[in-house]
Amino acid sequence: MASSTTGEKKILTLKGGDNEEFILEESLVLQSELLKNMVKEERVSSIPLPSIKSKTLVKIIEYLKKHAELTPSNKEEFKNFEKEFVNVVLEELLDITVAVNYLKINGLLEFCCQAVADRIKDKSVEAVRKIFRIESDFTPEEESEFRKETPEAFEGDLDDTTN
């Protein structure tokens, strides 16, 4: 077993966008490339993350802890945790994905991107525009051209909801 005792563990404070502070072991945040660089190069003990909501940060810290505990014997349990992890409303999932991208937590980023893709794949064009806050810059005529060109992509029960 590792010889380090609790007393030797380095502690780091993350400050979420709502000024809420999260105190955790430094080793946990090393999964984030961004924080790893900050910790290693600048030797900081407190990192402000004003662009990340505390709610989002809570989720991400939860993931970091679970991932740190991952062993070959609890792989199934971790998979179930991952499934539950992304089982949130789409807006929250996007917040998490954006934050994970910013923090550069690579394995989790791919997982989140796949989860977002799975959630939007059956959505209508209008729903996707709302979700990503995009204004259409096509004319209705141009838009109907797409529909004519590949009608099969617009058939079936498309989901108009944004959650």
Binding site: S51, N101, V125, I134, E143, E152
Partner: protein
Amino acid sequence: MEQHPKQSKPIKHSSFKIPIQTELITEILLRLPVESLLRFRCVSKSWLALISSPEFVKAHLNISANNKDYTHHRLMMNFESKYNIKDCSLSSLFNESVIEAFDLDYPTKSNGSYKRFPNSDRIVGSVNGLICLAMEDYDLVVWNPSIRKYKKLPDSRPRLERMTYDFHRYGFGYDEFHDDYKVVGIFTCGSLDQVEFKIYSLKVILGQVLLIV
């Protein structure tokens, strides 16, 4: 470790959004099925440009091809005796006890443009999601089933002295060096002094039509 809300101030639930970066949008879109991508091309001009870019097409293919569950892989079979093309999903071979193969519904089969010799169509080959078929043994068609588009290649069979060929073979492959798909044809009338090779470069013929996704 434990969360310590230092201040007891009420937490604001206002949304402070980081704009979603293009790179992140790309990562998400790369994981969508082709059908969704075709639909989302009309979300905006920037999405259209992204989805149609050759870099995106390549990266998307790469992710689909490396899918560990073989979700997007299919197996095609050509039965020499009947010249009948069937296909089944590759994942079913690993996961199911009974495998069902279906008649492949390829272009020009259903529209009846080839009916002189029904069932004489052959698979020439398949690479990167493109399939090359020889209709009625000779006419070449390159087909992208995921976007349901195809192109006929111009007939450029060599005119050998004797008009009939005893033997011809086609091959289909990807030339990584030139980033081009190519069909190679070998034609002979049986004797070695009359052998002709033809290479069809698809870059010129297809343009971007087949490579949209």
